[in-house]
């Protein structure tokens, strides 16, 4: 079963941090690197990236047929998506176990499997 893990928070603005906050952020960043390495080696991660910060985001939206391009992410919230990993695991519990080792907030979403669409349509 495939899931995408969406990670909250980015490194944007991290260089302006000072003292304990900076140390914590850098320690978490290192931990997330180790996490990626561990699960890539064990073959659980089949794709994923760290994303550049929300200031680099551009949103294309469609309203009543009209297309608009705006600066910024499309989810208006204090939390930003800082990266994602596509994982292949047995079930939600395995995905949860991985997510619990991530040094921050994670949203787990099962992916829609379109692999059998054509076959189904024929039968």
């Amino acid at each position: 079963m495939k899931y995408v893990l969406l990670f909250g928070g980015t490194m944007e603005g991290a260089d302006q941090l000072e003292g304990a906050a900076k140390e914590q952020t850098m320690a978490d960043y290192e931990k997330s690197g180790q996490w990626f390495e561990k699960y890539s080696k064990s073959g659980k991660i089949v794709g994923g990236h760290e994303l550049q910060g929300p200031s680099t985001a551009t949103t294309v939206s469609r309203r009543n047929g009209k297309v608009t391009v705006t600066d910024g992410p499309f989810i208006e919230s204090k939390e930003v998506i800082g990266g994602y990993a596509e994982i292949e695991v047995a079930d939600l519990d395995e995905a949860l176990a991985m997510a619990k080792e991530w040094p921050g907030t994670v949203e787990i979403r099962p992916v829609v499997d379109h692999s059998q669409d054509q076959e189904r349509a024929r039968s």
Binding site: R63, A90, D91, L92, P110, R120
Partner: protein, 377 residues
């Protein structure tokens, strides 16, 4: 319906499309041909559902057919079922509903009546939860090792919630409501049989037994709720109390204390006291302190304050209660407790004000009746 040939799925799919339509149309405008749009969306959803059809059918079947009778062959399945229904990835209200439905054999109508919500709303809650079990692939298994304690905690929370819901409304003449307290006790016994030697399962079992032992005294002849201080203790079931104490002893021997054992120990102090006044309040406060160390919850601090008022007086207790205003401002028992303490301090006007606020926030019919009585209605 024709093209799908499976009424349940078809019904769900159509409902799904309608929901999508209702969500999208205000934003995106009504499409030129709404009928065709609905059919297209419905078909797409149907493909999604049918693709998972086998897995879906299997899981739904497991959820539906589980029987209530004690067939040992089914024991493993039932334990897995309990853990699946109480998975933390599901909303807690859905965990309770699913457990009642799948493990205790309630109908949707009975669950809806038990929680005073409409049947369609409850059906929707159950359908959504079942769908998430399938879509997110929540496993059908008993967690092991390091995973077990936290997952067991979630199961116990569901059983305790269920118990409280039934226990509070016991004797209110709400004829339609099945007695959830007995069902929760039955489920906890079942859990203890399926997963033996878990101190906290026994702790919860002891807690339920000790509460139920007092239930005959909780309502007077007119069906009005009677709180612990005013209860006629000669009506307590001494045999049931003894059984509850034995269960608690068995749990304590395992030397793995936890919040349910502590709460059962508090209930035991009350059960053994000849009267409200002669209760060993020092012991109760000590037990609440231990409880706060394992789970620092404002509700526990509220209960501790009541015990504290007997050791150090109402004024000190009121100070502790007032500190909880931010956390518990929307909780009716916060205001009801303040009212009791204010009464004790001779602040009748403030007590009435607090009691009115409690009434505004309280849903439970038996507790509402009690508050109204104290307000002089």
């Amino acid at each position: 319906m024709r093209i799908l040939g499976n009424f349940d799925i078809a019904e769900e799919v159509v409902q799904d499309s309608l929901v999508t339509a209702l969500e999208r149309w205000p934003d995106q405008g009504i499409p030129d041909n709404p009928g065709a749009w609905l059919m297209t969306t419905a078909r797409r959803r149907a493909i999604d559902l049918l693709r998972r059809d086998r897995r879906y059918a299997e899981k739904v079947l497991i959820l539906e057919r589980s029987s209530v009778v004690g067939d040992p062959v089914e024991a493993d399945d039932r334990l897995r079922l309990i853990f699946t229904c109480c998975h933390p990835a599901l909303p807690q209200e859905a965990q309770v509903a699913l457990t009642l439905r799948a493990v205790a054999g309630f109908t949707t109508q009975e669950i809806a009546a038990a929680f005073l919500v409409s049947e369609p709303a409850m059906a929707q809650r159950i359908v959504r939860a079942k769908r998430k079990i399938v879509a997110a692939n929540i496993p059908y298994r008993v967690p092991e090792g390091a995973e077990l304690p936290a997952r067991l905690e979630a199961v116990l929370a569901v059983l305790y919630l269920m118990f409280n819901e039934g226990y509070l409304s016991r004797g209110t003449g709400a004829g339609m409501r099945r007695d959830l307290a007995d069902d929760a006790l039955w489920l906890t016994r079942l859990l203890d049989r399926l997963l033996p030697s878990q101190a906290e399962v026994l702790g919860l079992l002891a807690l339920m037994k000790l509460h139920l032992a007092r239930s005959a005294a909780r309502f007077d002849a007119a069906g009005e709720m009677v709180l612990l201080p005013e209860q006629d203790r000669s009506r307590w079931d001494q045999e049931a109390i003894a059984e509850g104490l034995r269960t608690l002893d068995t749990a304590a021997l395992m030397r793995r204390p936890g919040p349910y054992q502590l709460q059962a120990a508090i209930a035991a102090v009350h059960a053994e006291a000849p009267s409200w006044e002669t209760t060993d309040w020092e012991q109760v406060v000590t037990l609440y302190d231990a409880l706060l160390r394992s789970a620092n919850s404002p509700v526990v601090r509220l209960n501790r304050a009541v015990a504290l008022s007997h050791v150090r007086g109402a004024q000190v207790a009121l100070g502790e209660v007032n500190d909880l205003a931010l956390a518990l401002g929307d909780y009716h028992l916060f205001h009801a407790t303040r009212a009791e303490l204010l009464d004790e301090l001779g602040e009748a006007a403030l007590a009435t004000e607090a009691r009115r606020r409690a009434l505004e926030l309280c849903q439970n019919p038996a507790e509402r009746a009690l508050l109204l009585r104290k307000l002089g209605h």
